[in-house]
Symmetry: D2
Subunit: 358 residues, 4 copies
């Protein structure tokens, strides 16, 4: 009952980590959008496992297969089904997990909800599901091309000591992709990478934050009450595995401010457009975009699967010890960057279509 997202541009994802494959149906994508499969594959490649020394070494080629909705180079307006086969599914790796509940995973809650679960690699609760989001998010970006909307998403911090400096604000997508941790500040990136390697060596994991800027969103997108633009963005990000928090504009820091400082005063810019001097609003006022940069930050907890012994209970509640097998990420942040971008694009594509419905 919860595998769809979006109102007009609407995706439905399916598939388990160790089934035959995962995929997504996009319903409501307009006809006539030029298909750019290389771009979709590029986004998937940014998310895929095994891409660098600091991600899991599990191998999935994640080649997108287009099963419907595209004809002779253009979308047709009918549902687009994108499929990704599971290749590296060693189910036997997971047999020892069949009857126990891994700490801070969804094993116990799936059992509580469904009375059963596919225990292989987390089944449906695996972050593998996010590949379907990235594929469909890339299609959303194709739709958004006509608005020239730009996404800038990067790893802002790792753990408690490695932050992109506040003063560092001028950089490009290329700067972000320049290193395997997807942090645009080279020195910090280097330190983050070293730290993640250290953490992995200890069999441990670490969390961090991702920041995102979205440029060129026209004023007037979003809905005023429950589907506020930032509320949808927040839901989108919080629905990503391991995301624990979301803030936009001034965020939690804004809660400490006073009105006189926080208010973004309007002026008419050189092009005659109405703009604001400051942007504590994060480009959104009353749930609707105001034409300024949209920006937000989200928090990701450390990966729950550790490469060391942990205590837990089995289904009967008996204490049991286990060791995480398999190949897991010591830190999800680098691979979460394209997922955050995909979810942003899905939210905006939906609002673009909503804004045009009149």
């Amino acid at each position: 009952m919860s595998n769809s997202f979006g109102k007009i541009f609407r995706i439905t994802t399916f598939g388990e980590s160790h089934g035959a494959g995962i995929g997504v149906v996009i319903d409501g994508c307009p006809a006539g959008i030029a298909w750019d499969e290389a771009f979709i594959q590029h986004q998937l490649d940014r998310r895929k496992p095994g891409q660098s020394a600091i991600t899991t070494q599990r191998k999935e080629s994640d080649i997108v297969e287009v099963w419907s909705g595209v004809f002779e180079g253009y979308t047709t307006g009918t549902p687009i089904m994108l499929l990704l086969r599971n290749e590296n599914a060693k189910s036997s790796d997971y047999e020892h997990l069949r009857n126990l509940y891994r700490p801070s995973h969804a094993d116990y809650t799936y059992h509580a909800k469904y009375g059963r679960r596919d225990h292989r690699g987390g089944g449906r609760s695996s972050a593998r599901e996010t590949a379907a989001r990235v594929a469909s998010g890339a299609v959303a970006q194709l739709l958004l091309r006509k608005y020239d909307i730009q996404f800038l998403t990067w790893v802002d911090s790792i753990g408690s000591a490695f932050y992109v400096p506040e003063y560092f604000t001028e950089f490009t997508s290329e700067d972000i992709e320049n290193n395997e941790v997807r942090c645009p500040h080279p020195e910090t990136a280097e330190r983050m990478i070293a730290y993640i390697k250290e953490v992995r060596k200890q069999g441990d994991t670490v969390g961090g934050t991702i920041k995102s800027i979205i440029r060129n969103v026209p004023a007037g997108w979003g809905e005023p009450v429950f589907d506020k633009l930032h509320a949808q963005l927040g839901k989108a990000m919080l629905s990503i595995n391991a995301c624990k928090g979301f803030e936009y504009g001034s965020g939690f820091a804004g809660a400490k401010m006073r009105g006189l400082d926080h208010n973004d005063l309007f002026y008419r810019d050189n092009d005659g457009k109405i703009a604001t001097y400051t942007n504590y609003s994060g480009g959104i006022q009353g749930g609707i975009s105001n034409g300024q940069e949209i920006y937000f930050r989200c928090a990701f907890k450390p990966v729950a699967t550790l490469q060391q012994k942990q205590e837990t209970v089995d289904k009967a509640g008996n204490p049991i010890t286990f060791i995480g097998k398999g190949r897991h990420d010591p830190c999800v942040l680098p691979r979460a960057v394209p997922i955050v971008e995909a979810m942003s694009a899905l939210v905006l594509a939906d609002f673009a279509l909503r804004a045009s419905a009149k």
Copy 2:
């Protein structure tokens, strides 16, 4: 297109700040729930303006009128319409706002989206809409009574200097309601109140944070992918006027942690139930409740309406100076407490019904 919330227990709100009234239709409320109008009114009274020296002195009696869906003391399963008349609607107070865009309000974005707006008191963008949420949230709480779900929601901080101490964790609803700022720590409450009065005297406003604990949610509520329990809670909170951030469980602090510290180890408690030693998960794993306490925190920016002169532009983009008239809150936090609680109840009532559909 955005005035409904919930999938099975579904509300639709309507009304502008200075129209005839505001209200809500609740569709999907089961039949046979004992009607407790005094409780609904009580929740509205907690939100209503003019309730204390630190809120706006605007007067609205906010007496709930039940127009449908209740018969002889019980809900009938048909839509429940609750209406609140607008009493204190001095539209002329707002005539000077007709042609200008107040900073950090929704004036400009409504114009960008709709090409027009009801400028009186913010119209639909006014926080007055939240009274409809509180009324329907109280009905959601009636539904949740059979699960004995408890909500504990309080003002956690005001501005940058007034926090409830971390060590202070044992208190009741009564402790929260004991003072007009809805902070359960008496000394902090006193300092908060003094500060808010000071801020108001300066014609300024201030933000803060609200924290919430929800107890007795059964394990197994929530949905695994897009409608994760915390993602719906996050959307719900972020849809409240002035909310800028949301975090649950370990939240942004969790992003700084390492896996070994963050994992919540399972054990079997004295009642034979599976529980966790720690609760960084915030009672939710994989988007589904695990039976532990759910807790979250949200950030509210300072109120945008100041009692002092501000610069802005008119519709044509020309600079103009204006002074906020009317009677406004120097700080929304105390009145936001019942709104946060209402949105929590709406989310949980919907998930309670979803969980039962099988």
Copy 3:
């Protein structure tokens, strides 16, 4: 869970026959539509009881009250709430129905579903709910004005002997409204009226059919799979109280035909537009409008409330005799005409907005 209709132009109705009133919230109506309250009232007057000698003599003035969403003569894009107070609610008239199940009413099924019901005048199952549809359908018609969409809806037959002749195809809205049975063929209308009066004198009721033509719907409205234009029209009509069947285009007669006769051949008309020689398709092909006239027919059963003694059972299943009190229609057809028109307009307004979302 079922009191809303439409995806983008979406209504939610509320209210019981003998509560304080009934009404509707319209969400998704675009901003900037010129408000024409006289037209809305006119449509309500066409539906209201007591309008002629062949309808119920119950009195409801059904004056529409606009509570939100309209400002200074235009829709604002925010929810429009329209309220109709119940005036003629003699609840005591219905006390004898509290514990019995009237034949072919919804008394028994409401009990089976909800375990209780508001027995006064049918409560929520009363056709009074359709007044809310007519009010919101009139707003849908305001939206459709820019397309110049024309609705022609009339009583096509009453009982088994009174049909509008097949050859009779040229008439206007005025011809329909010219008489109280809303049949454009004057002689047939006269005979229908006399028959309905006769039926009423016998304490009996009678069914009939309504036919409808919709002109000027642009080619390309509707959706190809589940939300086919005619499937939505069908659902809309079948959701009207007492409607038992729906057919469009060639309908049931088309099932008897052969392909060579049934196919509508295309040609280019004098304006260079693609048209069809015949129109067995009813203006819809593959669920999408083709620019030709849309037409359909729906069947209404005889009213279940008779002015004579009937056998039934009480809640315990014991046999009981009762007589229908109150003032009821001997035939719903004349008053159903504006309801059919309203539902058509609601379907088309929604598809108009869907068609524009790209």
Copy 4:
């Protein structure tokens, strides 16, 4: 925007006639339903082309592939993706249709709506899409097994001369499946088959009607206002390719009746249950099931593709002559029987879950 059906038990179909395949995602199917793939395949075999001498001779093996949502013999509560590969897709057969609009097909309307279309075999508008409905409808039937709901669906008439006699009411599913036209009355079946063969020999096609009885639906399913049980059934049937009309209970004949004759009087039956003497209501009152047999009838037009020369226009509106190539059904009725059954099951599975949500 229209490729999903159902509110809680919700399917989304995808795929074109001549793409790689078609399929369906089922979201909201409860966990723990025993998987019966043989039954799903059996239902698909009843629909598949080439099954008998009176259907198209096109070959599709239509073997169902289960990609997700099923684990170790049971549904898991996660989305179920079912895929059917397209095997017999000779796209070149359709090259002559690329630039013309076939009469009474969706070619012109797809162009009007989308500005382009996949012309191969009708693309998305092909009845091939209904295979995905049959596959998911079979899953819905698995869910309904616990209620012992029985579907009896048959071909009631072909063309204007071949009807199942009214008096013929006692027969079983086996009687229906006994012959290739799916008509339970052996002599009529024989005559229908001979007629369809004759029609095909002439290169022509013919329509007909399907009737359906659903037994053992508990009283209390359905929703009172817009989602009336019969309104959803009507929409479901009208969404099937070629369906032109729907009636339930007394249907269009009921429109000719008088109230005294039409009312279904209640009594208490031998088991102490409340029942009705007659069943003009078709098992549904006020949109909610009353425990009696549900029955309805739907009309299907003759297939639009003829094996003979026809006039039409090309995209530019120029007259052009073409001959239907490919292998098409002379009459869709026999293969439509399992589709009607599937849509019924989808409607009821959704209402079963809705009824349990409280």
